[in-house]
Symmetry: C2
Subunit: 224 residues, 2 copies
């Protein structure tokens, strides 16, 4: 089994602020492997399909080529139950989620770093696929990024849990095409309840979105 | 200018429950045009990239082909400011948002129907790109679908506004690979404040996620 497979054993445990050096990246980093290169190229296609001229581009041919690539990939796909076991092998971070996953073309992707004070943060620039109001980030996309960031923040604090409640406040429209800082931290825990907060800021420190999350320490078991 | 361009004039106003027949689709429907076919094929690629065998598929070649397609599309893309004006031409629904947009490969897409009682709903089956916990929908993806659905529900009730607050409750894990009903309705209005609720249910009526949203009647202007 070589380094390009996602079946490569994941780390046995997730790093935490108590046991790991600070300023380490907590999410899966993009590797120089074929699946990550193909996914990065698919991200370019998603974005370019929204930007390209509707009249001039040879979109009929593009549709045929993309269908042909999908056919090829599907012909080499195991049944989903088997693939799920492979995706979730090990206990560490995964490579396929829709926020940070280098193998998921929907993910921008956002990379999150764990800080010594227990917080996590990352910088991401969003483009047209993530648009809500004209020129701005879709409110639901901000919620998606923040929900995931709180989960990573909980893990960095040594806890994990499923989202039970997410309260998102939109302070002002969040711009596309400029770097946004997404951050989160666990603020308290009470038995199985975990409370976390997070935010999206622009580069000049303007608060766009804030979130409070309640998580419950129970997990959907990984498939085996 | 032919029917394949997104510069085709949109309807002058959004349908509302007071002025339109019930049970009409409120979101942009997929057309038999090249850009919609190419986007549908890109969705297949996104999904298949997550499912395909990491070792057997010729992923290096796939990466090259996808990059070549992206190059072609980008070569035919106008500058973003110009493209934004085109995307937002007219006053009706758009074709590019990340939830319902037939031209956005990130969108599942979800189609929403307006009902006589003022509610809107649609059925969608989500697959691996939208995964959070093993075999289940990412909590942030449910928030994304619901935020957008409340916006469409507000429009169906004759109102529109930007999301100010979104409170999402997760009652149980939401399954992938089976039809989910996403629904929403405006419940009250007080001046510029609009309150709306929504939910995600499985086909047997099990409640997975519920949402309350507060919207403020102000809009980011469409670019001209």
């Amino acid at each position: 089994m070589d380094s390009m497979t996602s079946a490569e054993p994941a780390p046995e445990s997730v790093p935490t602020v108590r046991h790991s050096p600070a300023d380490i990246v907590l999410t899966s980093e993009r590797r120089d492997v074929p699946v990550d290169r193909a996914t990065a190229a698919a991200r370019r296609v998603i974005d370019a399909l929204l930007r390209t001229d509707r009249a001039n581009a040879n979109l009929d041919r593009v549709a045929e080529e993309l269908d042909s690539i999908a056919d090829h990939l599907e012909q080499h796909a195991p049944v989903v139950a088997e693939r799920l076991i492979d995706m979730w092998r090990g206990e560490g971070v995964t490579r396929h989620d829709p926020v940070t996953g280098p193998e998921n073309a929907i993910a921008p992707p956002l990379a999150l770093t764990g800080r010594a004070d227990g917080s996590v943060d990352g910088v991401v620039t969003l483009t047209l696929p993530y648009q809500g109001p004209p020129g701005h980030v879709h409110g639901g996309v901000a919620a998606l990024l923040l929900d995931h960031t709180l989960g990573v923040a909980n893990a960095w604090s040594g806890r994990s849990g499923a989202t039970a409640q997410l309260n998102v406040r939109y302070h002002r429209p969040t711009p596309l095409f400029e770097p946004l800082t997404v951050s989160g931290r666990m603020v308290s825990e009470d038995g199985r309840k975990i409370n976390s907060t997070g935010a999206v800021h622009t580069a000049d420190g303007t608060l766009c979105v804030s979130v409070e999350g309640l998580f419950i320490d129970k997990r959907v078991p990984r498939p085996r």
